[in-house]
Symmetry: C2
Subunit: 668 residues, 2 copies
Amino acid sequence: MVATTQSLEELCINAIRFLAIDAVEKAKSGHPGLPMGAAPMAFVLWDRFLRFNPKNPKWFDRDRFVLSAGHGCMLQYALMYLTGYDTVSLEDIKQFRQWESQTPGHPENFITEGVEVTTGPLGQGICNAVGLAMAEAHLAARFNKPNCKIVDHYTYAILGDGCNMEGISGEACSLAGHLGLGKLIALYDDNHISIDGSTDLAFTEDVGKRFEAYGWQVLHVENGNTDLPAIEQAIATAKAENDKPTLIKVTTTIGYGSPNKANSHDVHGAALGADEVQATRENLGWSHPPFEIPEDVLSHFREAVDRGASAETEWSQLWVRYQSEYAEDAAVLGGMMQGKLPEGWDKALPTYTPDDKADATRNQSGATLNAIAGVLPGLIGGSADLAPSNKTLLKGFGDFQKGQYENRNLRFGVREHGMGAICNGIALHGPELIPYGATFLVFTDYMRGAIRLSALSHAGVIWVMTHDSVGLGEDGPTHQPVEHVASLRVIPQLTVMRPADGNETSAAYKVAVENRKVPTLLALSRQKLPNLAGSSIEKAVKGGYVLSDSDGTPELILIGTGSEVSLCVEAAEQLRASGIQVRVVSLPSWELFDAQDEAYRESVLPKAVTKRVAVEAGSSFGWYRYVGAEGAVIGVDEFGASAPGDLVMEKYGFTVERVLKTAKAVLS
Amino acid sequence: MVATTQSLEELCINAIRFLAIDAVEKAKSGHPGLPMGAAPMAFVLWDRFLRFNPKNPKWFDRDRFVLSAGHGCMLQYALMYLTGYDTVSLEDIKQFRQWESQTPGHPENFITEGVEVTTGPLGQGICNAVGLAMAEAHLAARFNKPNCKIVDHYTYAILGDGCNMEGISGEACSLAGHLGLGKLIALYDDNHISIDGSTDLAFTEDVGKRFEAYGWQVLHVENGNTDLPAIEQAIATAKAENDKPTLIKVTTTIGYGSPNKANSHDVHGAALGADEVQATRENLGWSHPPFEIPEDVLSHFREAVDRGASAETEWSQLWVRYQSEYAEDAAVLGGMMQGKLPEGWDKALPTYTPDDKADATRNQSGATLNAIAGVLPGLIGGSADLAPSNKTLLKGFGDFQKGQYENRNLRFGVREHGMGAICNGIALHGPELIPYGATFLVFTDYMRGAIRLSALSHAGVIWVMTHDSVGLGEDGPTHQPVEHVASLRVIPQLTVMRPADGNETSAAYKVAVENRKVPTLLALSRQKLPNLAGSSIEKAVKGGYVLSDSDGTPELILIGTGSEVSLCVEAAEQLRASGIQVRVVSLPSWELFDAQDEAYRESVLPKAVTKRVAVEAGSSFGWYRYVGAEGAVIGVDEFGASAPGDLVMEKYGFTVERVLKTAKAVLS
């Protein structure tokens, strides 16, 4: 394999390989195998196709690149350094996987500008890419003009065997095929190796045929190690297909160039070791010391800087023309591009009084979505095949379908995890869109990987979760969330809201819409709830507040969330009638309440009042922080049961009588 | 469609339909659409193929039937009543979806004997079926003799569009194809309707082609509504294919027979309403009142009782012969069938002293698995492509592969959720096998749907989760669990253990293996931990115990789990040196500790000692229950970071210094 003279492109590819090899070697940790094998396809893509501006990674109309096989992140960092991103310097590469470096062990968009999405958990990236392509298709359909394509970019992803084994990728890719996302191009690094060894151990399906079944164009580059023209031709063919996404299966050798470890799982996730690094240098004819890039190689890569600047300039000129010719649309799109919420948008939020009819918060959520869709041009979303139950359809905004990408109702099918990652992709396309995704609360279990990543990667998705307790009734324990609210509260950077009535539901949307950098999850009731005296948007956005109070210092505080607040209200009235000073606190969001200042929290839950009862139709886990040692929690610490919802709630103790009895026990 | 004379089989099929229609109508809740459309295929399957004994639903060698589209459970309840199961009477059917009935809103194996697995969350059932078929294949390969097939049954599943959209089904079906599970036969109720409406909204892939890509035989019954011979022929063809699982796509009309609601989503999940029920009666020529089954129909169905008794008798005779001819194997299989753990099996558990080398609990887990595999003939399992990291390979027991089903190492591929549901299926095949499934702890997020179902459905799976904290280091926040231990503790009926050293790891396996009716999840370290003085299997199985103590009543209790217990030990030594009375409590399992009697708990954590510090490299959520108002928690309430593990632990405050400082603050 030793070449006495190497072409510039071979040198470029080896430069990528050795940056990866040497960075992993220095860190004594990381994944050299994928960068070594996928360097050729990545080089061809970045050198000849990818439109981006290294000096402005956030340029609006850039192509999006997603490394779905995120463990191979040195591939991306190498390309970012070589093409001139300021966010990844040579020094940063030397700091690969070190504390507070710009080059963490998997690509993290919130650390490294220019990384579009956070990948690593397998399968997520390709689904994010589907979301990115949907965002592009949507914005293009809404804003492009026959003579002015202001939105016009491709989404590229590199994924591996692991991504293709994960069910989540099947979900989103099936949907991508259904939607005919022609500007989505995925390169499948078909290297036949995973951590356990050969894919012959567990993965012998025909991936190409499967993607054809999804409605994709499938191409095959048989020699992805050295046949650059074939890679180039395949990407060109992919770009030429407008009606289908394309999977390019690129057969490669993992760890290409390593004489003793290539094509084995040893090269997947560990440093090669000094001897093998040296042997690989010799084998590939790379005589340069670690982290030294030949001048001609670097200057070739750095042409991307001028190329990118020109591309952005050209686009900026288009944007100037767009603004002049299509001022109205430009104003909308311009605002979306800046992530500005329209002034006074929140005036559209419905408000309620106790005279308004009792209603399920899922219905009030539906009403709110419809009320704000008109004033929030970026609001787009849907349900994982539960739209009639989740109440998430935006009336008059049509279904987002092939050829109708301008519409704003997304139909995800029964694909919760894929939906989650797609919503993350839409959110991370840029500040233009505010995505929401919906299912039953219990099925957050199916999409927790994506919900966690929304929190980690600063994706301001709105998660609309209905049927939020055993109160949903007959569907029984498989459908009744018990531990879910608690298990979501524990995810960092996720705001959970469980509103008690219409005003609190509006408040939840106020929080969710304004939270553009963290996701918000709404837990909504299936069953009807009264609109409470004392609730308001202003109070509820604080996460917790005094809903009703006796005169003077209370002897007892009843704390409720969601459907159980009204129980607290009723119990408080009876207790007050018997002369007990009772406060009712509604606590729709622990995260928001905990973020209030000490004085406010003390004003709501005074330390001196130690007699407290919390009521929530969910796990008591974590509640003792609020009720303390002398308090009590009425919760559900077992699985639910199939029966009419009212009866289940009664059997599980969600009755005024139980609250009264517990309150009296706490007071005694 | 009105027929003046109907064949007996038509009547039988209508009997199923009307039991479903009338039960849903009476409950005013449920899903009539699937039973109405799938009744013909279910009738043919149950009447002509399924080998079962209604009077002994647990007969060892029965065929397994899984209704993966669990919402259609009235289909199964109707068949169970009609064929003579004692667990589903006509009265039970009238009590559909009522409190404490035998006929809950989705099939629940722990409620209704004869239901094999708990379904409802879509996609789980077909994956359970893959697990059931793997269990059969394994037991058959190990125990069958050329002249004596003591294990010889099929696994049938009915799944719908929703199951096919879920990624989990793709994961398990890809694996089933890889494994060539010839005795797995899935009937796909292809009715083109899901909750949102037509599958044209989101699901237009070629499902058959996808399954062919997985390596399945795919057959198509074009008219599943009335063409019973075609259904019969397809099942026969499926049974004749020994090398591949079979998908029979059966095209049907949802809600078949309802003149105004058939082929619409209105019939999917709600009662038809009195008028439409009447119209359907007229349309299908069914004149019988609700819950009345004509005698000839019932007696035809009830032939299943004699048929089943004969089948079981025949098998019992075979078993007698097997016991006599193959006494040794029969003893093993007989013990497994009774779910008996071999006497003294736990003597194989390794024990450790502080002199033993420090080691990661994942390594000790691997050693334990290998130590007990020889004495537990039913132990079988593997990892979702992380065997080298999870340390789950059983040496000398080979890989379970096509043609090598007798082996005990399962290779799941990167398919966590599929793995979870497959393990549930293996566990619920019967008491014979003790399955374990492994991945990184953070990826429990990918398989939470299946973990929850293991707890709900009494599947005694061992979940082996390694890399249990930010201490795993360089892979960074996408791979570092933070909230996971807390989020798993909150699942009812799941025992979580986070062992601190080798003895506690052995204790975790003692608990897990003996827990045959609930799952146990082990959270294990990537990094090395010292073997602690004072730890033992006997103490650790109590969930919490005094690891070390000062004389007399302690002033302070340090509580740790897993990798943080040794920090508590070191801190305690220093505190004691400065004259403070300190107790160290190791608390590997909250669930087990909480289940101890009050006296024991008080002996470990005396109420009078209110100065407490808990140390766990995970969310502090829930810990206040143990440390109380005067205590403190050293935890991780934010996402992790990419850097060497020791440094991350130090940066996140897991140092002796921090424990000392916190302890002093608590004491002051």
